[in-house]
């Protein structure tokens, strides 16, 4: 059995960027296949390659065994019809005109459509339930009717394969269902092979035998809905938390997007203390509190940019009067907060005699075995203490179990 469509080691790209990488799969005649994947996965490019519009860099696409790029245009159009995502047509074109355009390839330029052509167009219009609207201009149609008219044109080609690009994107639910039922009927009764892209995993799973999941130009999964619609696979491809449930009544699979992966659960109820200052910690504080950590911060000078950021985020902040060194009172309050935190983070703070005592918070944490993360870049440059005391104390901390960091993602990962 020759497959209706087959991709053999297909690599396709634009300019210098490959979009599809070494893709191989086959679609047998009579299958109903949905092509899924996030935006930018390569679905549209794959459709362009399958229909012969986009020349491959390497590999080939075969349509019933023949290289689709080598097939004569008219022969290709008799095998494969395309329903584009959006058809831009002259406004005054009628439904019937459009359906007759499906006969472009079979008709020689000097031949008028004969009885057989008329019958084929007639059947396409009846099949798509557009017979009554045949004299309507396209711009007087609703979205669903317009889509049916385009399908009628595709049917008038009498193709063996129909490729549809997001056939239901612009439609509301009942019209989307109507279109998909029409496609299902076509496939069942006329044995037309259907390949469609879709963003709606649920509808695709409902109407297609087989799902192809594309991710970054490769096949992430290929098979029946139970094989492809799995939480772990979808999570990997769509980069968000996804739950798959089975509908108790129909037994069909339901894909439900949940919250973002980087959600507050990561840091829930975990306390972190941040030693900041000089405006170096704004982004870290924001990220930590977004991730759900309970963040405390201090001791900070009241006029420090970080103090304002921390207050804006509603964190527990210990403040000291402007232009004065950190006093014992403020330090004690900060130490109390730090003692409850499971980790102390020291940011890229410039240290001077006034805020050097903040390092005591880190030293206490190391002594009690809590996790300590210290920003280790530009240490010499930001040590303004006489005799480089800050540098020495930080080296001792790092030797004593504190871990270095210099990127926010490192710090976040270290916190786990």
């Amino acid at each position: 059995m020759i497959p209706a469509l087959s991709c053999e080691n297909l690599t396709v790209g634009y300019v210098r960027q490959p979009v599809l990488r070494d893709l191989t799969f086959q679609v047998a005649e009579g299958e109903r296949v949905a092509l899924l994947g996030p935006n930018g996965a390569g679905k549209s490019t794959l459709l362009r390659a399958l229909t012969g519009l986009q020349p491959p860099w390497s590999g080939r696409v075969r349509l019933f065994g023949a290289d689709v790029r080598r097939l004569p245009a008219a022969a290709r159009a008799r095998l494969l019809a395309v329903v584009p995502q959006e058809l831009r047509a002259p406004a005054a074109l009628t439904v019937e005109d459009l359906a007759f355009l499906g006969r472009t390839a079979p008709l020689a330029p000097w031949r008028a459509p004969d009885e057989a052509d008329r019958r084929i167009v007639e059947r396409a219009l009846v099949y798509t339930d557009m017979n009554e609207l045949r004299d309507r201009p396209l711009d007087a149609l609703s979205g669903g009717e317009r889509q049916r008219a385009v399908i009628a044109m595709a049917l008038a080609q009498e193709p063996r394969v129909i490729v549809m690009d997001e056939p239901t994107t612009h439609l509301d639910l009942n019209h989307a269902l109507e279109i998909l039922q029409l496609v299902e009927r076509l496939n069942r009764e006329q044995r037309v092979t259907v390949l469609m892209t879709s963003h709606d995993l649920n509808l695709a799973a409902e109407f297609c035998h087989r799902l192809l999941l594309l991710d970054h130009g490769r096949l992430a999964a290929d098979g029946a809905r139970d094989v492809v619609l799995r939480e772990d696979i979808l999570r990997e491809v769509y980069h968000c938390d996804i739950r798959v449930r089975r509908d108790p009544q129909s037994g069909s699979l339901l894909v439900l997007p949940a919250r973002r992966l980087a959600d507050p659960r990561t840091g829930r109820n975990r306390r972190v203390h941040v030693v900041a200052g000089g405006g170096c910690a704004g982004e870290l504080l924001r990220r930590l509190s977004l991730a759900g950590f309970r963040v405390s911060c201090g001791v900070l000078n009241r006029q420090d940019t970080d103090a304002r950021a921390a207050e804006a985020l509603g964190l527990d902040v210990v403040l000291e009067k402007p232009f004065s060194p950190i006093g014992a009172d403020a330090l004690a309050r900060a130490a109390a907060l730090a003692a409850e935190a499971e980790a102390v983070l020291v940011c890229e703070v410039p240290f001077g005699p006034g805020n050097l005592v903040n390092l005591e918070l880190a030293e206490q944490a190391v002594r009690r075995g809590a996790r300590v993360l210290i920003h280790d870049r530009n240490l010499e440059l930001r040590d303004y203490t006489p005799g480089r005391q800050a540098l020495a104390r930080i080296r001792r901390l790092l030797a004593g179990g504190a871990r270095p960091w210099h990127q926010i993602s490192q710090a976040m990962n270290a916190l786990g």
């Binding site: 245009a73 390839a105 201009p137």
Partner: protein, 321 residues
């Protein structure tokens, strides 16, 4: 109604063309066939009517093709710089003293085709040309061509200046019968070629990707269509110089009447454009007697309001969405 437009126009054609023979620069009436003077007048008038019909038909067909292939309601030989390129080519030929039967249209065609290729290349960095890029580069190429024409004109010897100026004004007076015959053959052959592939143009109005899916060899068809449109424009420019507006108004008017099917639209546009220009020319002579109002002025003055009325009446008719 849609289907009958072509037949109606075909029926009107002999009446209008014959009628136009009655109108001359000096007087309105049938020139006496019996006298040598009468025969001369009749032959002048006949040449003028024939040239008007050919030029109008060519410009209208070129407009239809450009609007369909570039999917742009504003596309027109003038706007896309084809006319400018063709006139530059023709002026070069006149200056080089090669204003022969085939050399003038040939160099006009070369100029027009080069201008079209330049505009197309400038506008499409990757794949299909963008609408605004196409119009902008068309206007720019057209402007450059016309300033080059001015340069030529200012540097040319007096005799050449006269020739170019006379020709540039846009005039349907036949320069030579062989030129008229040559252009007639070119225009008729181009029209036949375009009409034969009407189904391809229909498919291409859905965009070149969709036409590809429908089985059209899009690249070939595109080149064929644009090339013949440039050829027709060049022949028109070689015959009559620069006459604007016909390529824009007539296609829109007839598309609104016949619908977007090119098997009907192309013959309708050819007939309609030809008759329109002959009428405009006759009007210019009748109103301007004993002199004449340039035919380009008449096309703009009569066509503009007609076009606007059409747009107001059927805002969604034809091509404009």
């Amino acid at each position: 109604m849609k289907r009958r437009i072509v037949w109606i126009l075909l029926g009107l054609a002999p009446l209008l063309l014959g009628g136009a023979l009655f109108i001359g620069a000096g007087e309105v009436g049938w020139a006496d066939w019996g006298t040598p003077l009468g025969r001369a007048i009749l032959s002048l008038r006949a040449g003028r009517v024939a040239a008007g019909f050919l030029v109008g038909a060519a410009l209208a067909c070129a407009g239809v093709m450009l609007q369909a292939l570039l999917r742009n309601p504003l596309a027109e030989p003038y706007v896309l710089g084809i006319s400018g390129g063709a006139s530059l080519g023709a002026a070069l030929a006149i200056l080089a003293g090669a204003a022969g039967t085939f050399r003038l249209p040939a160099s006009a065609f070369l100029g027009g085709a080069l201008a079209l290729a330049l505009v197309y290349g400038l506008a499409s960095r990757s794949g299909a040309p963008a609408l605004y890029a196409l119009l902008l580069s068309g206007v720019i190429v057209g402007a450059v061509c016309s300033s080059l024409l001015m340069v030529l004109l200012s540097l040319a010897p007096v005799a050449g200046q006269h020739g170019i100026t006379w020709w540039m004004l846009g005039n349907l007076q036949v320069m030579s019968w062989p030129l008229l015959g040559g252009c007639a053959v070119l225009i008729a052959a181009s029209f036949a070629g375009l009409w034969l592939r009407a189904r391809d143009w229909n498919a291409l109005t859905l965009g070149s990707d969709m036409a590809w899916h429908l089985g059209v060899r899009t690249r070939l068809a595109m080149m064929f269509g644009l090339g013949l449109a440039a050829l027709m424009t060049a022949a028109a420019v070689a015959l009559a110089g620069l006459i604007g507006f016909v390529g824009l108004i007539v296609p829109h008017a007839l598309r609104a009447l016949t619908g977007p099917d090119h098997r009907r639209l192309l013959p309708a546009a050819a007939l309609g454009g030809g008759l329109f220009l002959v009428l405009c020319d006759a009007l210019g002579r009748a109103l301007g007697a004993p002199g004449e109002i340039p035919v380009g002025v008449i096309t703009a003055l009569t066509g503009g309001p007609f076009f606007l009325a059409l747009l107001r009446r059927r805002p969604r008719g034809g091509w404009l969405e």
